[in-house]
Symmetry: C2
DNA sequence: ATGCATTAATTGCTTGTGCATTGAATGCAT
DNA sequence: ATGCATTCAATGCACAAGCAATTAATGCAT
């Protein structure tokens, strides 16, 4: 693999990512007042309900999913809590930890936003939709 | 293509991007005191020398390459100028426009940083290097 | 039990980014 | 030539992100 190939692969990846994030950001913000990262966290929490009986997650467990620093995630969760989409609670077995779980409002908002996200992703990632992405 | 496939493709793309940017940021910063975006702009300028005889570019021409807003690019160029890597000059034919061109220091810094960038990209994008990325 | 290193999460601070606005220059229509 | 919409780049402002320091709790060694 030549340098040129590596670089062009990287630029393609990078441009693709930027385009998708930009679209997602606009659409999610406009239709659901959610940022991309906010949606991501709600998404992980919804997914996790299947795994965790009570739907509660440690902050660090969420960090693994979204590519954010610890501090960014902490503030993001604070914003989500302020918006009423999640709740934070102490975990009894390790009192340093904090449990995060969805509220009804959070579940609802996520379910509303999900189709929007899927639509944008399809527009960019569906093989044949490259031409129809108007 | 199922929703699940689209979403997992997106997550893979996203995680890949985040990992590469993170590594690039660290390595470029540590070894060359350059941010990823800063390097990108220098890189475009160097490339462009082949195309433009005098190596001068309009700000908006650079904007096409890097995925940044116009204002972000404006400030980025200001930072690069302050660091002595580029110069801004009026363009005579359209006095709204601003020409940007590399200085010697900019060319040198870019040539020093280039191998670092290539190394990081290879580590992530070379097929066989997945295991050897220590 | 006490001290010390470690881990979880939050907070202070700085910086980079985007949106909207501004200021300047251009081009076009009248 | 004059007026007006448009374009280029810079700037005010608000906000999100990362790093480093902080606070609180845990675990381990003595």
């Amino acid at each position: 693999m030549t340098d040129t190939e590596v670089v062009s692969t990287w630029r393609e990846l990078s441009a693709r990512h930027a385009a998708i994030v930009s679209d997602l950001e606009r659409e999610l913000q406009e239709h659901h007042e959610l940022g991309v990262s906010e949606f991501e966290v709600l998404d992980r929490l919804v997914e996790g309900i299947c795994l965790s009986p009570n739907g509660k997650f440690r902050v660090q467990e969420l960090a693994a999913g979204v590519s954010l620093s610890q501090s960014a995630l902490s503030r993001l969760i604070a914003r989500l809590e302020k918006s009423g989409f999640v709740m934070r609670s102490m975990c009894s077995d390790d009192r340093r930890g904090v449990f995060v779980n969805l509220t009804d409002a959070g579940r609802i908002r996520h379910s509303e936003a999900l189709p929007t996200q899927r639509r944008v992703l399809r527009a960019h990632l569906e093989p044949e939709s490259a031409a129809t992405t108007g």
